[in-house]
């Protein structure tokens, strides 16, 4: 059984989406020990002992959104939503490793994830916005004042 099927069918974590199921579309992207991987290209038995993060694990509390999720909503970084959990997790892994990514870094980080609605531009915008906000979150309020909302 693939890790993806185990997450969805056995654990009820249906935020990891089944798209192509052979490693091309990226819709099943999850984090293994904080790094983005494809859940369809791993068997559940191989995940023994690792830390798995799915989209269900990103929100800070019930009914709340993470900074990245908020940014996707605000910039219209999603339409049908099928690729979105994977896009957000790929972006999450990027921002954890690189808080100030260039546009090229962002494009590279989501290059393995296919979106058929947005044309990618708003997704790139969403990730850049989230990065800016997350960097700003570490700045004392007086220096951040006057910056973007």
């Amino acid at each position: 059984m693939t890790l993806l099927d185990c997450l969805r069918d056995n654990l009820g974590l249906t935020g990891a989406h089944a798209g192509c199921e052979h490693g091309v579309c990226g819709a099943c992207t999850i984090l293994i020990d904080g790094v983005a991987v494809r859940a369809c290209l791993m068997f559940a038995v191989q995940a023994d002992g690792v830390a798995i993060t799915t989209i269900e694990g990103l929100s800070p509390g019930p009914g709340e959104l993470s900074v990245l999720q908020d940014a996707f909503c605000e910039t219209h970084g999603l339409q049908c939503g099928y690729c979105t959990p994977a896009m957000i997790l790929a972006a999450h892994a990027l921002l954890a490793a690189n808080p100030a990514p260039t546009r090229d870094d962002i494009v590279e980080a989501i290059s393995g994830n296919i979106c058929r609605c947005t044309g990618y531009a708003q997704i790139v915008e969403a990730i850049a916005l989230a990065a800016e906000r997350m960097r700003g979150a570490n700045v004392p309020p007086e220096t951040a004042r006057g910056g973007s909302p």
Binding site: H22, G23, V35, V37, C40, L41, M42, F43, E108, G112
Partner: protein
């Protein structure tokens, strides 16, 4: 897209892995699974047992080994991509790694898995052939080595015995003023290449080409060297015209393949153009770079 049923073993060491492989005719090694699992999902591969060597710590390393850099078979591509020894000593490999799959597949995929599955479009196979890498494997109690040139025998097939387990690959490190080049065309960044070319060149202080390797991949079943071009340029002061002529004369000898994505004629043109660009990059880098 569901794999056929299979048994799963996770041996503690290579000896146990070899014993498990020998006991089951339909067993196959899995490490990162980034080539094998798609094949299983499409049921092109139907192993009866997977022997998972991915967690054998002895097989994950990058180290200096005399005049080579040795990399353990289950070393993940993302580790090699960021390894300082690779960046310093194997610039061609470092240059190619960002083109291998996507970040999410490099996070799991291993160097040995890419080589052992021998996808015709695999960039790592192209580098192994271009740099004359040596692959080490273990079959039963026997340790053996094979040159990359002899390892790849066809699309998705290698000379590795079915009961053997790849353990490491050694890339020779060239001394002196080295330049490298790599170019590829594909439909989407980091997708399978339609054509790819790699070059590494060493210059003497007076600008004479002392050593040269040019390889093209994804255009035939296995990566091939442009030996005629290499021979034509070694011992000369390469110029734009001589490099162009050498690649042009050599690429015609490569019998390129047609498929859904590209015709043989396109692949010949693309491989020639990419090989020339890789060679020009390598030459320019060798002129400007500090000695290795």
């Amino acid at each position: 897209m569901k794999p056929a049923p299979f048994e799963y073993s996770r041996p503690a060491d290579v000896a146990e892995a070899c014993a498990t492989l020998a006991a089951d005719d339909g067993a196959r090694v899995i490490a990162g699974g980034q080539t094998l699992v798609p094949l299983m999902a499409m049921r092109v591969a139907r192993p009866t047992r997977l022997v998972d060597i991915g967690r054998i710590a002895d097989l994950a390393f990058v180290r200096q080994d005399d005049s080579a850099v040795a990399i353990g078979a289950v070393t993940r591509q993302c580790v090699i991509e960021r390894h300082p020894l690779v960046a310093a000593r194997l610039r061609l490999l470092a240059k190619v790694l960002p083109w291998v799959g996507h970040a999410a597949t490099r996070a799991r995929g291993t160097i040995g898995g890419s080589l052992a599955n021998a996808d015709p479009a695999a960039e790592l196979s192209l580098v192994a052939v271009t740099l004359d890498a040596t692959l080490s494997f273990r079959d039963a109690a026997q340790a053996a080595e094979i040159a990359a040139a002899d390892f790849f025998t066809g699309a998705m097939t290698t000379a590795l015995p079915a009961t053997a387990c790849l353990t490491a690959v050694r890339f020779p490190v060239w001394g002196g003023r080295i330049g490298t080049g790599f170019h590829e065309v594909n439909a989407r960044r980091s997708d399978f290449a339609f054509a790819a070319a790699a070059a590494q060149l060493a210059l003497d202080p007076d600008g004479t080409c002392r050593r040269l390797a040019i390889g093209v991949g994804a255009v035939t079943e296995i990566p091939v060297r442009l030996r005629r071009a290499e021979q034509a340029l070694i011992g000369t002061h390469p110029s734009a015209a001589s490099m162009r002529a050498a690649v042009h004369d050599s690429i015609g000898e490569v019998e390129t393949a047609s498929d859904l994505h590209a015709s043989a004629a396109y692949r010949t043109r693309a491989a020639g153009a990419l090989a020339l660009r890789a060679l020009i990059d390598a030459h320019e880098e060798a002129i400007t770079c500090a000695p290795n």
